[in-house]
Amino acid sequence: MDLKLGHYNKDGIEVVDVEGEIDVYTAPRLRELLIDLVNKKNYQLVVNMEKVEFLDSTGLGVLVGGLKRVRAHDGSLDLVCTQERILKIFRITGLTKVFGIHDSVDEAIAARKAEK
């Protein structure tokens, strides 16, 4: 399973749908998409990882890089993930403290709106 990427705007927040495997081979494509979105002035991002089948530290690095970019514009990058095997990787690396991780896209958007 390769990596499939899509994105759409909902309530002023850009939602990125990621499907498949994020690893050392595919992660550069996600990085390019996140950079492209930020360059187009999308600073409120939600990355939906519900269809991600595999995530390694290279993928984590890309997400952290995206977070760094949006924060430079006072933006945010939240994640949607309920899969235990993916969540485990965030826990092992301590990144649960860095990302807002939500159960659904709607919940992520609502949480972001509530913070404003």
Binding site: D23, V24, F54, G61, R85, I89, G94
Partner: protein, 181 residues
Amino acid sequence: MATVEVTFTPLPAHVRTARLVATAVARRSGVDESLLDEVRLAVGEACSRAVEAHQKHCPGQPIRVALTDDGERFEVVVTDAVPADVAFGDIAAADEWPGGTPAGGSAHTAFAVAAPAGGNGTAPGAASAADAGAGADSAILQLPTGVGLAVISGLADDFRISPASEGTSVAMSWKRRSDSR
């Protein structure tokens, strides 16, 4: 002798193949189904690390993955051709990891064992807890090498890094189910 051995050119695209083979051999060796995701991730991390090291230092050399089922444990050894002192010179950047100290239980023990191989006493990935949450300030787009190793140490039952004949080998193992053949 390894049960299965895979040799691949150091390209990111082949890391997935190594992961798939490792997972298949682990399953056949009787590693518990619940551990297969961990095997897959840990082997992927070790191979990604090796690919990055080879691309930087010796892109023409292959990477070797040896998968061994010795009856009690399933062991994976990923051997690269980059000497440990060169490879671990790359790890200093681990301090920039925004999550702070990786939570892998055996991480510090594992790195203490690993350190002499690199001739460097600094525990990679052991960033100060004060760094937690400082993601915006950390100038990383590519994560530091030490994080991949920290992930492995958090996943495998046993993990060690040692100098190989011409490079570095990362070995990790898991217990098999007792009832498997």
